[in-house]
């Protein structure tokens, strides 16, 4: 998606420059009246613009135009890549691991029937890396298990 767009931008920049250069030159010729329009037109056809014939200042201008076009495309690429980046909450490898670990910790506690200080500390540590959904679900599952007396509360400190 990006490369054809970049090529198109460069072509557009070159075309814009050349168009500007050629028409600008013709106007200038007419303005100063140094040559009749026919002669000017003939001169354009006789000497098409190329890097070899362009003055150094024009090459610099062309270069700046191209750099600007490339930068513009780079911004497009950046914003495109930014859109591709997952949002903070979206599952990444790290948060997926943390999500699964929280789930496993809770399942283990349910199997044993106790919620201890170690479980609480582990949940707290894993929560810092887990997704929003996993954190929320883990806490709801924990209070649900406590309310249903499926877990014996043995913590002496924080619950989670």
């Amino acid at each position: 998606v990006i490369r054809p767009a970049l090529s198109a931008a460069i072509a557009l920049a070159v075309g814009t420059y050349l168009g500007h250069h050629l028409s600008g030159g013709a106007e200038e010729s007419r303005a100063i009246g140094s040559a009749p329009p026919v002669a000017a037109a003939r001169a354009e056809r006789a000497e098409p613009a190329s890097c070899a014939t362009l003055p150094r200042s024009d090459i610099e201008l062309l270069k700046r135009t191209l750099v600007a076009a490339i930068r513009e495309q780079a911004d497009v690429v950046s914003s495109y890549e930014a859109r591709l980046e997952p949002p903070a909450d979206e599952t990444t490898a790290q948060s997926l691991y943390a999500d699964e670990s929280i789930r496993a910790r809770l399942d283990y506690a349910l199997a044993v029937g106790r919620w201890t200080d170690e479980d609480s500390a582990a949940m707290q540590e894993l929560s810092s890396r887990a997704s929003v959904h996993a954190q929320r679900q883990a806490l709801l599952d924990l209070v649900s298990a406590l309310n249903e007396q499926r877990l014996e509360l043995e913590t002496t400190g924080p619950l989670f």
């Binding site: 954190q135 806490l139 406590l146 014996e152 619950l159």
Partner: protein, 135 residues
Amino acid sequence: MKIHYIVAAAAVTCGLAHSSLVEAGQKMTREVVIVVTSTGRHASGSMGSARNSRDSVQLISCQLGAHTSGPATQGACVAKDATGRTASCAFFNKPQFESVLATISDDSFIHFYWDTSNQCTAISVYNSSAYEVRK
């Protein structure tokens, strides 16, 4: 015999006087109570009474926390009565609850309610001279 009566009366008088000095002011013991019925679910208790209870089981607490990766804030209240029964509720991103929790002191009376999804629906904190002080 007469002297014995006088001494006994004086002792009773002194005892009453002493008692009235020591027991000045209202005092309320509010141990942890959990109520779950078809119409509502709530738990309450004062921090002091739970702490000073004769059993080593009762507790009542509320917690508030946040992680950069999680909900803005999440919290929970937990109560455990003398029989070991536990009640709890959780909440997420509730500034109104956060403000209430900020008023909890060592001797507060806490009362919380929850719904069928185990999310807190109300949290009350009472601070009163009548509530038992944690020892």
